[in-house]
């Protein structure tokens, strides 16, 4: 929470409508996002009750578990969901492009596009994760056999849920988070996780202010909650009787009229809870689409596509499900990657967006300055070689007080470093800085045209650097040191040997800890009963 965002919230409060906090969009919006609204049965551990799903706003698919405590019906639901989602997830693999080679110089390909799943709120994203967890270890054979696509769906959902932890990733979009990243409401962040209320602030209906509209939107009688939890009142008054009626109508010889009617009534009841959210979600997607994308959104989407390509290949390869929890090495590796992704995202957002950069200007980590004079052709002769080191004198009224020797970068010329060699802090609000430039000017002793700022130019300098930091090295899982419990049991290593070999061959920092390593995933949970 920056001061600028806090101020925007205060503004929104007074004006009765949400305020923009970015100038551009920082997430990728797919052409055909797969919208997914799960509902869960109260009191159960992530037991599906129903879902609305689809990539066409006009053609939602409704899935219902008519008796949520019945294991077979739950898996029928999972199979039906898989029949919709899995083909959609696989569809994007066919068209590929050449990507930059990896660290070992091996050629790489990536899909030109990737699937995007959109859910309403963090709880729905949590549902995706847990549903992935509860299905990916199932087996298509043996005592608790399920449809072969169910464990595949489980792995896909797990992939989406894990990828969503990456700052800046857009494979799984949580709408309340995405909207709150671009608009500040006049309520708290806690209340922003309620999609109808959040949208009420962003687009209050004619003649109402955001606060009133949001309050009405919170009333489950007016707007059903966006799930996965249902309104307890709906459960007690509508759902429970409908489920009972269905149970009563079900007879050994299926398909009677009474059963059809009962199941129709149940579907209608559930649909009434889902449809308003369906419409809201597409509205939210339209709002996000309307924002111009930030320049570096495409780079991050390319990383998402890499991850997608990688995972799809893995699924076709060994197809082993992701372990229940990360082993010692996998955990450390993943944390490392998440930290790098966050650092990159933080910088990229600021580079892409003057309003985000303003937050750094406020704290002195960036400043916007005017070039007073530029010595474009200055040559440094102090070293062994003559080097081009132009100097520009800039002046700013921002609060930043650069220290002599500090390095600054202008997002307009990201390859160029500017070192402060002289700083004059005037009595007034003005600071004058002499910056010595290096890099980004071509190889000759005269700079390429436009590579050195001209007098009169206004530009932004920041200490945030969008720099590639090479990934760190970690031991192989089988070399887990004694300080961290030693290598995992040999059996589990066997199970994943192939994967580990693939990973070490590749040697880059793509999502290789999504590979199962320290867990024998297949046996025990497959027998886990689910009711």
């Amino acid at each position: 929470m920056s001061t600028l965002v806090a101020l925007a919230r205060a503004l929104a409060f007074v004006q009765g409508v949400a305020q923009p906090i970015t100038m551009v969009r920082h997430i990728h919006c797919a052409e055909r996002p797969m919208v997914f609204i799960p509902l869960a049965l109260a009191g159960e551990a992530n037991a599906p009750l129903a879902a609305m799903v689809g990539d066409d706003p006009d053609r939602p698919r409704l899935l219902v578990v008519p008796q949520p405590r019945n294991r077979d019906l739950r898996f029928a639901f999972a199979a039906e969901l898989a029949s919709i989602l899995v083909p959609h997830f696989e569809r994007f693999q066919t068209v590929t492009e050449v990507a930059a080679p990896d660290r070992t110089g091996q050629a790489r390909w990536r899909s030109t596009d990737a699937p995007q799943v959109v859910v309403a709120n963090p709880a729905a994203a949590g549902f995706v994760r847990l549903f992935g967890r509860s299905t990916r270890f199932r087996r298509a054979d043996g005592p608790y056999a399920v449809d072969a696509r169910v464990p595949v769906l489980g792995q896909w959902l797990t992939f989406f849920a894990e990828r969503a932890e990456y700052p800046g990733s857009s494979l799984l979009v949580t709408l309340t988070d995405a909207l709150a990243m671009h608009w500040a409401t006049g309520q708290s962040a806690l209340e922003d996780t309620h999609l109808p209320a959040l949208l009420a602030w962003i687009e209050p209906p004619e003649g109402r202010d955001g606060a009133t509209a949001a309050m009405l939107a919170e009333d489950p009688g007016i707007w059903p909650p966006a799930g996965p939890a249902t309104d307890p009142d709906f459960d007690n008054r509508v759902l429970a009787p409908a489920i009972e009626a269905y149970a009563a109508a079900t007879t050994p010889d299926a398909g009677t009229l009474a059963e059809c009617q009962a199941s129709g009534a149940l579907r209608d009841a559930v649909a009434s809870q889902l449809e308003p959210t369906w419409r809201l979600m597409w509205r939210a997607i339209a709002l996000l689409r309307a924002l111009p994308p930030g320049v570096r959104v495409a780079d991050r989407w390319a990383a998402d596509r890499d991850a997608y390509t990688e995972f799809a290949a893995r699924l076709e390869g060994s197809g082993l499900p992701q372990p229940r929890r990360d082993g010692a090495v996998a955990a450390a590796r993943r944390l490392h990657r998440l930290e790098r992704a966050l650092a990159a995202f933080t910088v990229q957002r600021a580079y892409d967006d003057p309003l985000i950069m303003a937050e750094y200007r406020l704290t002195g980590e960036a400043f916007v300055a005017t070039v007073l004079e530029a010595d474009r052709l200055r040559i440094d002769t102090s070293g062994r070689r003559r080097t081009l080191r132009p100097r520009v004198t800039v002046t700013t009224t921002d609060p930043a007080k650069p220290e002599v020797g500090s390095t600054w970068i202008s997002p307009a010329r990201p390859a160029q470093r500017a070192r402060a060699v002289e700083v004059v802090v005037a009595r007034g609000a003005e600071t004058t800085v002499v910056l010595e430039l290096s890099g980004g000017m071509g190889r000759a002793l005269t700079p390429l045209p436009g590579s050195v700022p001209d007098a009169g130019e206004r530009l932004c300098y920041t200490s945030l650097a969008d720099q590639y930091v090479p990934p760190g090295d970690f031991p192989a899982p089988e070399e887990t040191p004694w300080t961290h419990g030693g290598p995992p049991a040999p059996a589990s290593l066997d199970a994943v040997e192939g994967q580990a070999a693939v990973a070490s061959r590749r040697g880059d920092d793509l999502p290789r800890d999504d590979l199962p390593r320290d867990d024998l995933p297949r046996d025990d949970p497959a027998g886990e009963e689910w009711s």
Binding site: G327, L335, E339, W482, T483, G485
Partner: protein, 457 residues
């Protein structure tokens, strides 16, 4: 009977046990917990010397370049090493305290440091060393090191001595993830925690004596931050004292007059606080209750004014190491805060004569030592306590840097703030509870400080 042993004997006994474990034990690791100023570095240097003497080359893993250079300086001073290797990044420029020692070789690769009896580097640098295994490693500041950092270097050693102060700040990550909670190898915990969770049987020693903290400080710091283990002071209640050589009235120096920003700070209260701290080791300089921005101008001014006042009053510190007194010069004073912007604001207010006073955040003050510290209480002027401000280690670091006295600057109302603080909002399964709790430690510390209160005019 530790009760009757002198502090030196008690401390020697522990060090002896550590050394004998090193020579005769068969444990893969030895863990030494050290309260503030209990001779942790001395132990590290001593162990490195013993290992060198026994012909067992060791590697020393510290957390920051600053710490590495400090250790090298001390290792070199012992004369116990044929060659000391300093494993460094490419852009490392040897600091004067390293460069002065002939015995130190600086290299970016282990291969450049062949023949060293000890090789010292940061954990980050060690993580880039792909091979080689040494019989021993000494891991310094194991509570500041993150578990994943240890994972990356642990294959470089067979056995290790881990030392650290459990009262220091926990390592942190910019990433917020609950993904690994409850795992014994959770990469977000400290290196010490991960070692102990996987190897609960390792011998655990505790250095029993703080040589830094004065007798006036030990009971309060021990009770608030080391409630179960405790420790004692190496010096008696009369061993450390501060004399103020300038009179209250006499202390209007030229630069003092010039500081308009500080003029509205009531001078007599400042003097009261300085005198109280000089005579009793503690003072709580209390400003009226008010919610403020982080850089509370009054509190900032008070910190700067107290430091200046201390200099103006020409404080002289008498201790076992300086029986005839040593002036409390600016470099012997630190002002500790929670946030960087607070430090910057205080620095901007210090007059040139006090420019050498250290002003820094708790994170940066870890492991450092001063005669007098002035602490801006992390909760001063706040509306709400956050996990950051309640963190036990933050207050512990701030309250345990001094050899003579500590003056805490705070707005009234912290007690109420703590009382109104919503209780634990999240509890995770299978995560060992750490003690003390920040909330309780803060209460304990406040209760202690109450008795040294000076109300600012």
């Amino acid at each position: 009977m530790t009760g009757t042993a002198s502090p030196a004997e008690a401390a020697d006994r522990v060090v002896g046990a550590v050394l004998s474990g090193l020579q005769h034990g068969s444990d893969q690791g030895i863990v030494v917990d050290s309260p503030p100023g209990a001779g942790k570095s001395t132990l590290v240097v001593r162990v490195a010397g013993e290992l060198a003497a026994a012909g067992e080359p060791a590697i020393l893993i510290a957390q920051t370049n600053e710490q590495v250079d400090d250790l090298i300086n001390r290792l070199a001073a012992t004369g116990a090493h044929r060659q000391i290797g300093r494993l460094s990044a490419v852009d490392y420029v040897p600091s004067p305290r390293v460069a002065q020692h002939q015995v130190v070789t600086v290299g970016t690769r282990v291969r450049d440091l062949d023949g060293s009896t000890v090789i010292v580097g940061t954990a980050a640098k060690w993580a880039t060393v792909p091979e080689g295994t040494w019989p021993w490693a000494i891991v310094d500041e194991g509570y500041q090191m993150r578990s994943d950092a240890l994972l990356r270097v642990a294959n470089r050693f067979q056995r290790a001595l881990f030392v650290g102060d459990p009262g220091q700040l926990d390592p942190f990550s910019t990433v917020e993830s609950e993904r690994w909670v409850g795992l014994t190898w959770d990469p977000m915990q400290s290196a010490m925690a991960v070692v102990l969770r996987h190897n609960p049987g390792l011998p655990l020693h505790r250095l029993p004596v703080s040589w830094r903290l004065p007798a006036s400080a030990v009971p309060a710091v021990a009770r608030a931050f080391y409630p179960f283990t405790g420790f004692r002071s190496g010096t008696g209640s009369t061993a450390r004292r501060i004399a103020l050589e300038a009179q209250r009235s006499a202390a209007r120096s030229a630069h003092d007059m010039a500081r308009s920003a500080l003029d509205n700070v009531a001078r007599s209260a400042l003097d009261d606080a300085v005198e109280l701290a000089a005579s009793r080791g503690w003072a709580l300089y209390e400003l009226p209750a008010r919610h403020t921005v982080r850089t509370d101008p009054e509190a900032i001014a008070a910190c700067a004014a107290l430091a200046t006042r201390l200099l103006d009053r020409r404080a002289v510190a008498y201790s076992e190491s300086a029986p005839s007194g040593r002036p409390v010069s600016p470099d012997r004073i630190a002002i500790g805060v929670a946030h960087r912007d607070q430090a910057a604001a205080i620095r901007a207010l210090l007059p040139p004569s006090a420019a050498a006073v250290t002003v820094d955040t708790a994170n940066r003050l870890q492991g450092r030592e001063y005669d007098v510290t002035i602490v801006l209480h992390p909760l001063s002027g706040r509306r709400d306590a956050t996990a950051f401000h309640l963190e036990t280690g933050r207050l512990c670091v701030l309250a345990s840097r001094h050899r003579h006295a500590c003056i805490v600057v705070a707005r009234a109302g912290i007690q109420e703030l703590l009382d109104a603080h919503p209780g634990n909002t999240a509890v995770h399964l299978n995560v060992p509870v750490t003690f003390p709790d920040g909330w309780e430690a803060n209460h304990a510390m406040l209760a202690h400080l109450e008795r040294y209160r000076v109300i600012a005019g």
